[in-house]
Symmetry: C2
Subunit: 201 residues, 2 copies
DNA sequence: TATAAGAGTGAGTGCTCACTTATTTTTATT
DNA sequence: AATAAAAATAAGTGAGCACTCACTCTTATA
């Protein structure tokens, strides 16, 4: 039995992450992973029973980095800021986090289509918690009158989708930045004005 | 030389579309396509030089169905409606179109990551034209004072991303409908209030 | 230094794949 | 009906794949 926290295992995971990100799961061979990790092909299978388990290992190791924890920590820090600024910070923070984890998100989104396990991991550990946190944020604004009554998941989803879209566009389709003009400030404005109690002219 | 509009060719394209949609490009074998199309495997290669060319054929044949034309036609029909209703119709129409073309979109988005040609086809023939049309819609609203001055691509992108997100969530990640509450009416409200000239309380 | 166990190796294995080719079947023309 | 051309077939073919296994090397302990 091999040591499960051996540096070799870590090297394999890191190498696999790079190669999967570049070529996709099906487009990557175990030989390539081994080469990138500077180990023999056979070594992979001392640490992981199959190629698929290497993918699961990569996702399990890194999923927390794009998940709920960074956002929750961050929200605690900006709790006392006015809504406008809080929203801007949330947008910037999410774009940063998602941008940093873009390769992992790409891998998960791509493979989740054909793999039940990955789909569940993503939905339960990333999508739903983040949606929940953002919903609470808007619920709070409703309670203190800064937002009119509505399903709080709606502004949460608009926020999420806008951020998501930017990242997907830039990094999955490599659309140039000029067409990706989700400036945090104007997106904040639209969202805030849009959810305000309606003012009569 | 074979007839390039032969029914067999069409059968192959339709079969390939179904199988690619279900299993992805790399997850599909030429044998499976042949089986689904009720032809021998060799027959595929009388009509297409390679498996990749079958994928290109599928995309080329169907791309117009999710592209700019349906939207342009549709916008002509609702030209005289008030902005609120026009927006609602646009949202519903796009969701319908994207929903109908979801399999193709999934295929393109997935494979575009690893294929320059598909990436270009999608960006140039789907993304940019639609963004352009929606931008014009908002530009028009700016001209007649229904929208404050801003980069018209911003509301266009919010609209696009929200619709996209819904479709991706539902059909790529199979997130349940309860978490996908982009009702056309409330999304319209938020967007419209959000882009209005700001009213002082 | 002798021994044993853990870690690492890489040629080998059987299988699957995209694609080919020799052959048969269908269609069109006279 | 005879012939030729076109279309379709299915048994190959060789390359490449995930994974195995018999073996070597390294390290630790006595």
């Amino acid at each position: 039995m091999v040591n499960q926290n051996h540096p070799t295992k870590l090297a394999i995971l890191q190498a696999a992450f790079r190669v999967f990100g570049e070529k996709g799961f099906k487009g990557t061979t175990t030989k390539e992973i081994a080469l990138e990790a500077n180990v023999a092909e056979g070594t992979l299978f001392r640490y992981f029973p199959s190629k698929l388990d290497i993918l699961y290992g990569v996702v399990d190791t890194l999923i927390t980095s794009i998940g709920v924890e960074p956002l929750q920590n961050f929200l605690g820090e900006i709790n006392d800021l006015p809504t406008v600024e809080a929203l801007q910070y949330i947008i910037l923070n999410r774009m940063e986090t998602i941008g940093a984890g873009k390769d992992l998100i790409r891998i998960i989104l791509t493979e989740a289509q054909y793999d039940e396990h990955l789909r569940e991991v993503y939905v339960e550990q990333v999508f739903k918690p983040i949606q929940q946190i953002l919903s609470s944020f808007f619920e709070q604004k409703m309670a203190n009158g800064e937002c009119r009554e509505m399903n709080p998941k709606l502004p949460a989803n608009i926020l999420l989708s806008s951020i998501f879209f930017t990242v997907i566009s830039q990094h999955l389709l490599t659309i140039e930045a000029e067409d990706n003009i989700f400036e945090a400030s104007e997106l904040t404005n639209i969202l805030l004005y849009g959810i305000q109690e309606r003012l009569k002219p």
